[in-house]
């Protein structure tokens, strides 16, 4: 549905995107993650035809964004980061203008009613946009992006500045839309996309540094796997039995436990799965297991590792320098 090939974008001296390629299938929800200024908005502006790439090709639904911008725009609903709205218009008046501009004609009434209901705008229809709260502004702008029932939704930080309840509201709305639409949403809060995105694209300093499901990304970040186990067992016997499992690299014991109880972090080669072997060991030794847990990085830790350690470590290609005349 959306296809980026070796896309670079430069604003004067700054290189906002460097050789970014990815594709999005129809119906997928993509989370675009990266710190502020990483290039998320630039990529979205290119997909929505607001700016053209300096190099590379981008197509949406088979149409090139540079050669056939109108065809691309018809398919897209766009919520820009700044939530731009005409301050002096009434909410209803504004949505009517967008409906006209999107050529909805006869369908307008039903789409208008749907979007007002979905975005919860009934109470503010006759209000001036300039006096709306941040949450209602966000929803008005989202309504604008949805009114023509687009196949593709590009949402640039759709929940920034909202309270938790509003965030849940928007998240649920996005989930409802997910079945029928291709969605790209950007955020710098990983937990936000961890729950709804099928796939996460991590972008940092203009480069794509990660591409995969949340679990894939997180496990790729772990340099070694870790399991915590607590059992009623003797320490020496425990160490001996566990060390016998292949792939186990290190055992770190908790201190201050009761006598006859061990608690230990077992570190192992991340490519191996030691759980079956560990299970077998526990059973044959007849220990009473008190706790067993696979340890993972926290979301915050993952985000920091994704956006800081990956550019050098994972993808370090030379930057494409050639410009594009247009």
């Amino acid at each position: 549905m959306i296809e980026l090939q070796n896309v670079s974008k430069r604003y004067g001296e700054t290189q906002a995107l460097k050789d970014v390629s990815f594709s999005v299938q129809k119906g997928e929800i993509i989370g675009f993650v990266g710190p502020n200024g990483a290039g998320k908005s630039t990529a979205m502006k290119i997909i929505t035809t607001y700016t053209a790439p300096s190099a590379g090709r981008v197509s949406v639904g088979g149409f090139d964004v540079v050669d056939h911008p109108l065809e691309v725009r018809k398919q897209i609903g766009y919520l820009p980061e700044r939530v731009p709205l005409y301050e002096d218009m009434l909410v209803a008046e504004y949505l009517e203008f967008i409906g006209e501009a999107r050529h909805l004609n006869g369908q307008f009434k039903s789409r208008f009613d749907w979007v007002v209901d979905a975005c919860g705008l009934e109470t503010v229809l006759k209000r001036k946009i300039g006096v709306l709260s941040k949450g209602y502004r966000q929803r008005t702008c989202l309504a604008q992006a949805l009114i023509h029932d687009p196949d593709v939704l590009i949402l640039d930080e759709p929940t920034s500045g909202l309270d938790p309840l509003q965030i849940i509201g928007i998240r649920n709305l996005i989930k409802d839309l997910a079945h029928s639409k291709t969605i790209i949403l950007s955020t710098h809060i990983l937990s936000e996309v961890a729950t709804i995105a099928d796939r996460i694209l991590v972008i940092n300093q203009g480069r794509l540094v990660g591409n995969g499901s949340f679990d894939e990304l997180v496990s790729s970040l772990m340099d070694r796997g870790s399991v915590y186990i607590s059992a009623e067992a003797g320490k020496t016997a425990f160490d001996k039995a566990v060390k016998a499992i292949p792939a186990v690299e290190e055992i770190v014991h908790d201190s201050g436990l009761k006598r006859g109880v061990v608690g230990a972090h077992i570190y192992f080669d991340p490519k191996a799965n030691i759980l079956p072997a560990l299970n077998e060991t526990v059973r044959s030794a007849g220990w009473n297991v008190l706790a067993l847990q696979q340890e993972r990085l926290s979301l915050e830790e993952s985000f920091i590792r994704l956006t800081q350690s990956m550019p050098e470590a994972v993808i370090d290609q030379p930057v494409q320098e050639e410009g594009r005349a247009s």
Binding site: T48, Y50, T51, L70, R73, Y78, Y86, A101
Partner: protein, 242 residues
Amino acid sequence: MRDIGIIFRREFKAYFYSPIAYVFSIIFIVLNASLYMFHFFFFGNADMRSFFSSLPLVLGLIFIPAISMRLWSEEKKLGTIELLLTLPMKTEHIVLGKYLASFVFYLAALAGTLTIPIMLLILGHPDMGPIFGGYFGAVLLGGFFLAVGIFVSSFFSDQIVSLIITSMTCGFLALIGWQYVPMVVDGWIPGLGEFLYNFVGVTRHFNDIERGVIDLKSLVYFLSFTALFLYLNAKTLERRKA
């Protein structure tokens, strides 16, 4: 065509959201009428020469920049330009819709000065030829300055900067067609003043039309420059992308 109409309607309504346009229209009408009445009582002539002779400067320096400044600058400041230019519409149509909205607003303000010829018709027997010519010239002149103004406003997100740059540009265009200014410029660089007077000066063409000499050259001058600036406006907005 439909897209032009959709943009036109929104833009035209937008003029009435804020008081700036009202204020400038009232100033425009009152200033012109009072300047004229001063002349009228002083000389007692039933014509509008003095009205039209000051028009290029009044329009170029104040009124037109005040109408055109918001056309793109406001969109840039609010960020709405990002949504506007990602609507499924051609950039040329958006430019034309905005331009026509400002043009119609200008025509309405200009119509406000029609009280003067009406008064002249009641009081005396004015020669209507130059008055018709003058209004026709004013329509062309305003249309041209607005095209300059909309083009300038696409470069700045600050309306005041747009106003000042448009005012300077249109003021220059008006002055260089004033008889004495090119002579001064010729004194500095021989030939330049003459050249500017002939090819870019607005006032000369306006005066021709006002005298009733509707010469093809003047018509071509106004219409082609208006079209040129609108074209440049659409092109620069599209180039911004690259």
